[in-house]
Amino acid sequence: MSILPLFVAIPLAGAFLTSLLGRRFKGLPDILSNLCTASLCVISIVSIGMVRGGSTLVYKLGGWMPPIGISLVLDGFSSFMLVTVNLVALLVNIYSINYMLRYTAKWKFYTLFLLMIAGMNGVVITGDLFNLYVFLEIAAIASYALVAFGIEHEELEASFKYAVMGSIASSFILLGIIFLYSYTSTLNMADIGRVLLDKGPGRIIGFIIPMFIFGFGLKAALVPFHAWLPDAHPAAPAPISAMLSGVLIKSLGVYALCRILFNVIGVGESLSLVLMFLGAISMVVGVFLAVGQWDLKRLLAYHSISQIGYVILGIGLGTPLGILGGLFHLFNHSIFKSLLFLNSGSVEYATGTRDLQKMGGLASKMPVTGTTNLIASMSIAGIPPFNGFWSKLIIIIAAVQAGRFGYAFWAVLASILTLASFMKVMKYGFYGKLNEAFNNIKEVPLFMRLSVVILAIICVAGGLLLLNGIFLEGARDVLLNGTKYAAVVLRAVK
């Protein structure tokens, strides 16, 4: 029996059972959703071993052969994204056991949460273009609802803005898929790649690519399309902010963009320049907007834009080292950014405020949160030996090697500004004089501490991933192979 359908089936079944039984049995949603995410995490780690050495697994849905039927494809890149998504999902889920007690109707939260995971896993694992759109919408609709979960003024406004912009992006993606279908008469991604190789790229490809860049770029919050992110991410409950910033913008945006551009259409010189430019501009604009923020979660949201810029810059360079750096940074960012968002949630849980000017000296009252936040801040700012340092270093070296000195300079500059803004967070938020109002606050409950400590350990040990290549290099090789993807998948079908 193949494990491929399980990545979608487990969270969908979990969401179904949670919504069915959650109202009746109080403790059940916690146990059920944690079981789901834990088992997803285990099978996604197992999947790394299955794609070792560049092998590709294809699962035919309903037994129909691929160009006709829908297929699920597992290769190095998918497996890499699955591990990232499910690892963060598990830790966020452990965190929300305690955190979500602040809200009513915990079971509704878990239902939407599991649906979002099902959508993200589906986007990552599917081999069919229209199927990708469907899963993308499942994840997106669940995330619109989750952003509005608090149903207060800000949440509703942010969610409305996010929903409108997100659906426009989805329409553009669908439009791109329609034109691609009209040109190639097939929806299977491998088959589209094959037809495009045979037919040669027509003029219509030049029309399709901007649509995909706009659509997926909006989902990934690259800079000209970033306006929804700083509203939507802070408005959501902290665990959801961690999921949105940590993995949703990556699996819906960066993964889908890279998969289609690199493996289906094929990246040329000019497209690579566009990606690098978008990456660099998001990197710099994001960090400049972040420095001036006083709302902790809003500051973190702007940093997400900036760090996504690094990922796109690294992947856009197109050299093996650049892609490796970009993917490594993608993994690292999902770890430290979810840690930072969870910590901002812990601070809000204990003190009830997100305004940095009202905080101060929290590290003495909340030692675990203070320490893990210090680790995450140093990771995101790129201080050795934390994981963020290694990935930024690789991206900068790759940019220099490719002769892109300007981009390397901007990457260094953005890194310095990131350091400055996180020094502000640590100084005003966690060190300095304790605000009198917070004399009685306590450290957060057990499960919240457990999950942030695990994330902090991954932050410290993350650099070791570079020593053992299979995890990252499997993903890199898929992107490097480019349009050979079609041949690889079609061979694996037989």
Binding site: I141, Y144, E157, A158, V164, S167, I168, S171, I178, D231
Partner: protein, 111 residues
């Protein structure tokens, strides 16, 4: 030509979303965008004077309508129904809180 008209419809929807100040009108713009996309999808599968794609014994079929876009559009319509329902319910909740549909008055968030 007819594809071009679809793109015009799409552009009208986009204009509605970007320029209108009323939440309901923004939602209508969104719906128009989705309709334009679905219409384009159906038209791409359509053949002039084509017939329904039903295979029958001993019959040569020369000119049939492509059935795949029709099946896909059904899925897309269901998805856009879900999005529209969600957005409308958000708009109702927003009206409960702010007592207005005017987005220039709904400005708790900066930037």
């Amino acid at each position: 030509m007819i594809y071009f008209l679809c793109m015009v419809l799409f552009a009208i929807g986009l204009y509605g979303v970007l320029r209108k100040r009323n939440l309901v009108k923004i939602i209508l713009g969104l719906v128009i965008i989705e309709y334009a996309t679905h219409l384009l999808f159906i038209l791409i599968g359509y053949r002039m004077n084509g017939r329904a794609p039903i295979l029958a014994e001993g019959e040569v079929i020369a000119n049939i309508v492509d059935p795949l876009p029709q099946a896909l559009v059904l899925t897309a319509i269901v998805i856009s129904l879900g999005v529209t329902a969600l957005v409308v319910s958000l708009a109702i909740r927003i009206y409960d809180r702010y007592r207005t549909f005017d987005i220039t008055k709904i400005r708790r968030l900066r930037g």
